[in-house]
Symmetry: C2
């Protein structure tokens, strides 16, 4: 049998999906599992977006333009302008999900063996794209003690080598919920201009900012126009993850042209997703007001309940729909598996994402979990009660492997 490529062997398994068999087993035993481990929103997709697909009049389902349907890119430029990001349709490449935007950006900005600095913890799939692109992720650690704020800029400086080509941030952040300040973004802007680096920014959670906090896009960093590539997606914004539509947005014409060549090779993004995406842009403000109120309520409940548990610490996330919590546990992978395998509270348990998968530095995240608030308030309450009970039992139970009663 021929060998697998080493990049097939090195490709990481999704650290979240590793736990799925245990969740499935729990369900087979009749246990209700609250899925707070995922980034799949439970919010309804805007009806207008779905209706556009239902009513689409297509006789031949053709390839679209490789850069995306022109009228969709026009609408997208209106959407961005409304969000104070002044770009034209020519600055926008429609991609197959935000995933493809990330991949194209890595392929166009970095050579194999080059390095990209990413504040950790970070979205686990960056690891997968880095292996696919053959580039090395160099983490700069952020800390729960100060709410995962950007580390001092010196920490970035220390990591820059001749191989460093880019810095990647996610703002608002998955998994931490951190929202970057103007000062932090200005510092990053100065750094990338000074060191001649690209600044890639995954801004897919733009709409999800709480407490009236303002979102600031890297697209508005004056003087860094040639350095900045924004990666975006309609998946979270309109609860349309299955549409597989994202965008790569940049004023750097060379990057845009190069990404277009990658886009041409794969022919076109999905047509129905683009139809839905175009219609979604007309979603009324009231939809977002309602969604934001819902998420904000969930966040408040979640953070309150967590911080009221013994030994639990959870900084208040300002954006996205995740919270990172420090728990009084020895090993988050073991604990999350234990919750599914050995534990239940009145026939219920909760599935969380061990934070280890979000850190590139080995050993970090062992006492942290990511919690997505993608369930309604009642389910979230039940899930947090499960967690509280779980923590009580786990602490007195880590040695007695077979019993789940305390």
């Amino acid at each position: 049998m021929p060998d697998l490529s080493y990049r097939a062997v090195e490709m990481p398994e999704s650290p979240i999906r590793k736990l799925i068999p245990f969740a499935e087993d729990a369900k087979k035993r009749g246990i209700t599992v609250y899925h707070l481990n995922i980034g799949q929103p439970d919010i309804e997709t805007p009806a207008g977006a779905l209706d556009a697909v239902h009513n689409s009049e297509i006789t031949v389902l053709e390839y679209s333009h490789s850069a995306g349907i022109e009228s969709f890119r026009n609408e997208l430029s209106h959407y961005y302008r409304k969000n104070k990001i002044d770009v034209s349709k020519d600055d926008i490449l429609v991609t197959t999900g935000g995933s493809e935007a990330i991949f194209f950006a890595l392929m166009c900005c970095l050579n194999p063996g080059d390095e990209i600095i990413i504040p950790e913890p970070f979205y686990t799939n960056y690891n997968g794209f880095a292996v696919a692109a053959g580039v090395k992720i160099v983490p700069v650690t952020t800390h729960i003690e100060n709410g995962f704020a950007l580390p001092e800029i010196e920490k970035f400086n220390e990591k820059i080598t001749t191989l460093t080509k880019a810095i990647l941030i996610c703002n608002p952040n998955n998994p931490t919920g951190y929202l970057y300040s103007r000062k932090e973004l200005d510092l990053l802007s100065e750094l990338v201009r000074d060191k001649n680096l690209y600044l890639l920014a995954d801004e897919v959670y733009r709409e999800f900012c709480y407490d009236g906090a303002e979102f600031l896009s890297v697209m508005n960093l004056k003087g860094a126009e040639e350095n900045v590539v924004m990666l975006d997606s309609i998946s979270k914004r309109y609860s349309m993850c299955g549409a597989r539509i994202g965008t790569l947005v940049t004023r750097n014409k060379k990057i845009k042209q190069a990404a277009l060549k990658y886009a041409q090779a794969r022919l076109s993004p999905p047509t129905f997703g683009q139809i839905a995406g175009k219609a979604a842009i007309s979603t009324p403000e009231s939809y977002f007001t309602k969604v934001l109120k819902e998420y904000s309520g969930r966040r408040n409940l979640l953070v309150d309940m967590l911080n009221n548990m013994d030994g639990v610490q959870c900084p208040v996330p300002k954006g996205a729909f995740y919270a990172m919590a420090r728990l009084p546990i020895d090993d988050s992978d073991k604990f999350c598996r234990w919750l599914l395998e050995k534990f239940n509270h009145n026939g219920r348990t909760v599935m969380l994402a061990p934070a280890t998968g979000f850190y590139a530095t080995k050993g970090l995240g062992k006492d942290e979990v990511r919690i997505g608030y993608v369930l309604n308030i009642d389910s979230l309450k039940n899930a947090m009660q499960c967690l509280q009970q779980g923590l009580k039992q786990y602490s007195c139970n880590t040695i007695i492997e077979e019993s789940s009663s305390c």
Copy 2:
């Protein structure tokens, strides 16, 4: 400004798309352009597939399983079994178009710097995926004189080095329309087993075989189960290019597992495309009978008209919906551009694909073009009349650059 990566610079532009501005200019001048340069079928998508999307009852457009919706994979296995390819849903990974299947296969089977042997002329986008994957395409030339049949197996042997990891074929072939014989496939099977190589096969034109010719899949090469990876798509089969749904099919569990990790990183294939694809599997046989009759009629007309032109040679394609023709011209790129820029016949012209883009060996294809029969009989007839007139004018016109009258 930071530098582009070399793989962004090296990424080829689509050689077909390079001519698009000239076609657009011709249209602006009021000239009708017959597009025989593309692989976009004009055939209607099966109504059942579109209806399934129109009637889909989705409230939250969620990610699907990374490997594709399970019930769709089940249906796909039925489809394959009906086509004498005995695979289960577990051998099938749903991809975002056949494009992604090709890319995943390259990433999993080859390391950067490795070599893949491909009979040329070949589908131009293989070049793009090869650059993205950092692998080297080593061509084995096939010749119009013998209808682009597989060269003697010694020609492959000569090209095999320690870096060779795979052979890639497209069957039925784009751009040549060649259909591989049992003997040819057996020879390839023996070779890959003997040399411990992968055999990748792009079989997206499976349904398009003429004159009662039988299609043979690499999936039925006994003893080569671990070597074979089949790459497929619903784009051509059901005229659903915009769905962006393909499959990677293999009995090699390691490749399947590795490709699944790549699939997990990009989360999921498009949901609406999968809904359409699942419904399309129930398309009645009568649809294909009609489509095949239509293509077959077009092919006959095309080949007859071409071979009746002075100095033109066009072998009869047995499959797909392309023909390669040798024309009495000096430079196919120049000629195809000239047809758009300088020529018209009663206000009409034809757009063809210069064959140079389908060869990896520099200098080949200069007197050949690829012609897709993706227009109805009447348009095809008009287009061929344009070509005939064009050839007459071009031959006496290549020196008088400014005039288009003969």
